[in-house]
Assembly symmetry: D2
Homo-oligomer: 334 residues x 4
């Protein structure tokens, strides 16, 4: 085992931040230099890793020496993250930013990267940008929905199967942890239990920017129609994706087997994926079908992941492993 | 108030059958002549209606005099219903059949209507076939998914808005009561809680037959791509429907306001419908949007209903009211 | 039908206040004069009653003419209610106060009844204080836990069965709606689902005061040991109560049949009560048993109610019916 | 690392059996020789262990060579287990029996140990019988409720604090996985969600036998009054225990600190334990309080565990570790 590499977490009190702390605590090559949570400073966060419980002191962001870490995970609110990314870079450390601040498609007023933040931070969709991530100082970690959808579309894009000009219709459903740990009326148990509804419909969700930018980058000229829904569960995202194809496909799974033959965190299944199968794991489970009774060549793709792991903290750690020259799979639950 | 009309329920131990008994108990013009449940014969079913609880004796189907009812609700398993429909007709009573046996699109081997069952029983989608239902002796009550989807497509079909040859993509999610009250491993609490998954995908669900037949009847040449999902809730169906349009539409709600101006059980909303809003009510709540960033004219429609009420027992009673010459809204919760 | 009596609701945005508005909307003899909710003033509250939906305009408490109502329900936070009770009395109307401010056992610093509030407002446990409630201008409506527990102990107290000096051990479990509609971290869906825990243990819960005072009033010298728990459900309280007896009892249900023979809202059951059986109903379901293998004479009592109905709004309306000379059961769901 | 010791699982398709397979797959010193599940023979069970997924072939019990394992876990239904224990012993292997067949208090008609099963198999409450377990060939693993309750009473018994002749009142609540993976109507999601109820009340639960026998063995002359409840969650048991004491106790936690100072799987907490804190862990979390306002010296004890881990498979593995001379904590999640 190499000596332990110190890493830090900014924003350790949110659901993603806590998940990061747990993963770091169980990582064979990393140690936790600091974990910040301004409102909870002075308290202790307990996380489980492997077969043990770890007690992590939470401190204020203004109390830490950013240079004590070789890499920092920024799990801060959207809009508040970019300035901390700049501070971390100035301190000489690498950064994985879990906010949307540096993701492709952003950069408008209010979201422009401040001085000191590279404009070309790779987008941390590991399976697509693995080589760019390896040498990066800053990586913009994808959104949870974006991960579940782009990993389902990527093999079809590479195979030239997505019909140009067509609309890819995406119905995703997410557990409530995706909405964060801030108390809001609509996230109270009494409001969510026995309920189900869509939200941010009509292509108004934040994650569309990075999805569209990535499809463009892949040279695919399609329209995305993305409709998220809120599930009465804690964690997990299932995306049900209808893809108009350029031509009929006999074996719907073939493009996925081709693209993901050697991917450690993609599970191609014969059955339809279910959310309990991916909870607490850094995997995306995927199944694809060609439906009967539809004249236009069409594919249905189902992808499932844990929004806090493969959709956030796990993928962030996967990227950090690459940035630090470690085994990509180190410390990641499968 | 007219004197009370006797009605019967075949199959009162399932979730739909119980809901029927409760609605009948609270109906101002109906009385319950009998309620059968072979495996529970001799026991008592307790249901709530209005502000009171009613105790209903359950008897075997072979014990009842079918002619003691003017109308019988058949809430029996698919495949087992048609023969009982024939018996009821022979006994001189009217029937609302909640199974799929007599629905449009059925009639193949194993599902053919037996001797004594009219081949042209109207399909009980009340808002579409109200006039035919009024004089009918037999009505084939729609499936729960079919109701939620067809009522969302009907106004667009009438307005000529559904693009010919196109694929209408439908992602529906249902509570577990839709799967019935038979003990199955995959319906155990421990298997459903914190879970979500698709099932019967690739256009393999039973309800597709009646949906396709109805679209054809409406003169719409489109393909349906229907994907149901199982929600960790008791009751409710939300359908999220992507409709390719023949032309751009400025006001997405206009076709629905036109079609449903006087419908007592259709609620057009400004907000996105949620399942808790329709629980225990005989309503379909609906909202439609035209999404941004999609070049092809497209509409998103969201419809919510209670699968046991507007999706089954409530709609059955709505049809029975019409068949018996009663006020269509009598005894139905809004 | 008598002409309709105007009543008002102070605090209509909380879970109890909304339940009150729904019950009033469905009441045959009452009309809603006003419903206040300061933070939501100007919005509309939709509630279901009978087979219809009612739209209720929410106004600020400072906007209403309290004298426009013959009776006002105060569903305000503990500590904030007493001053409004005084205002209502000054305006000439009657009051049912759902807060703890006027309940027996309170009156200490910070909770003293202000000038203008009668010090002897009857405690609104209807089954015990029905006669006093009939003529009252102000009634202190009981807490939800207190209702579930006192109604279980009352018949045993009247029969002289509770062992003097002994400890009555009470384990209650409540759905989250009992904690109100204010956003708090510990009430988020992600914190409550798949969880269960005790709280306010060691006899520290607010409702103990009224329970102890009532037991003293009944002449019973026992100690209560009350432990509430938080359930991952929306509504309902189940209390499991261990009562040391003065003597062995052959038929555990006999004291309850004696005491509650003519009570319209008490259901004595042969089976153990379950929370889904009482949801949305103004009933308390109760079963009692004498356990095997315990030498000291002991009774186990199980009581179930809906914390928002029989535990709050329903009981409040039951009291209001008595105060206004109406049929006690009017407008109350059974 | 020593070479791997082969162990087998009889009954791998139930919830406890699956948990056992997962724990064994992740154990540093054990390998899985076989896993039987008669109805699922020929299928593959997938379990997660550490950061990997393992595929386990399920075979019929009649297909396995019992002597291929050094130790066998019998996770068979109550009544069906004892004969398999005898077969395993005859084959020369050790056994941890998770059924109630060999537990103290059993042995009546229908439950007598068959020929070949030792009458004095130690009861596998590890913290109490660690020394006897170390050399045992057969261990009777405790029930889940019994574990949660006995570990809470043990320190008080040892300290002579439980009042002789008194009644210890126990209200426990369990997730549905404790009822097993057999499809039953009352365990369907639609029956359990939003519900809560007691069952097996009046001291009729199977686990009372082993609890009473253990208290007698400890020389405590008290009566247990045990009331289990069914929670709408997957896994976890919380026991709320009222203990009449021989004398007042200043520091309620002191007896527990004394008894459990060196126990690796007992967590003494300052806060009240919650079920999400113990899920998937082999720990019992415990807090004790002395309530105010109760004249008789009394203690309230709260204990929480995962019924499938510390309440079943985890404790079974803890015992197996001792029987095989391994580190007691090997392979057990904390």
């Amino acid at each position: 085992m190499p000596h332990s590499i110190p890493v830090g977490v900014l924003g350790a009190s949110g659901y993603s931040g806590r998940e990061l702390c747990a993963l770091i605590a169980g990582h064979p090559n990393l140690s936790l230099a600091f974990a910040t949570a301004n409102a909870q400073r002075g308290t202790t966060l307990r996380v489980r890793a492997g077969n043990a419980v770890h007690a992590i002191p939470l401190v204020g962001a203004d109390e830490v020496d950013l240079s004590s870490a070789e890499l920092v995970f920024a799990a801060l609110p959207h809009g508040a993250s970019a300035e901390w990314v700049a501070k971390v870079i100035a301190a000489g450390a690498r950064v994985v930013d879990l906010s949307s601040d540096l993701r492709p498609g952003f950069g408008g007023s209010g979201h422009g990267a401040p001085a000191g933040v590279p404009a070309d931070a790779p987008y941390g969709l590991t399976e697509l940008y693995r080589e760019q991530i390896k040498g990066a100082r800053v990586v913009a970690n994808p959104g949870c929905y974006a991960t579940s959808i782009l990993l389902a579309l990527l093999p079809l894009a590479k195979a030239g199967l997505i019909a140009p000009g067509a609309t890819v219709s995406i119905a995703s459903a997410s557990g409530v942890s995706g909405a964060g740990a801030s108390p809001k009326l609509e996230l109270l148990f009494a409001e969510v239990t026995e309920n189900y509804r869509a939200y941010s419909v009509g292509n108004s969700h934040r994650h569309l920017h990075e999805m569209r930018a990535t499809m463009t980058e892949l040279g695919v000229d399609c329209d995305l129609l993305f409709t998220p829904h809120l599930l009465p569960i804690d964690r997990g995202i299932l995306s049900t994706i209808t893809v108009p194809l350029t031509r009929p496909v006999g074996d719907a799974m073939a493009p996925f087997r081709d693209a993901y033959a050697n991917e450690p965190f993609i599970e191609l299944t014969n059955d339809l994926p279910a959310l309990t199968e991916v909870a607490h794991r850094n995997v995306l489970r995927l199944n694809a079908r060609t439906p009967q009774g539809v004249r236009a060549p069409t594919m249905l793709v189902f992808s499932a992941l844990d929004n806090l792991v493969k959709g956030a903290a796990g993928q962030a750690l996967q990227n950090a492993n690459l940035m630090l020259g470690l085994d990509e799979t180190a410390g990641l639950p499968r």
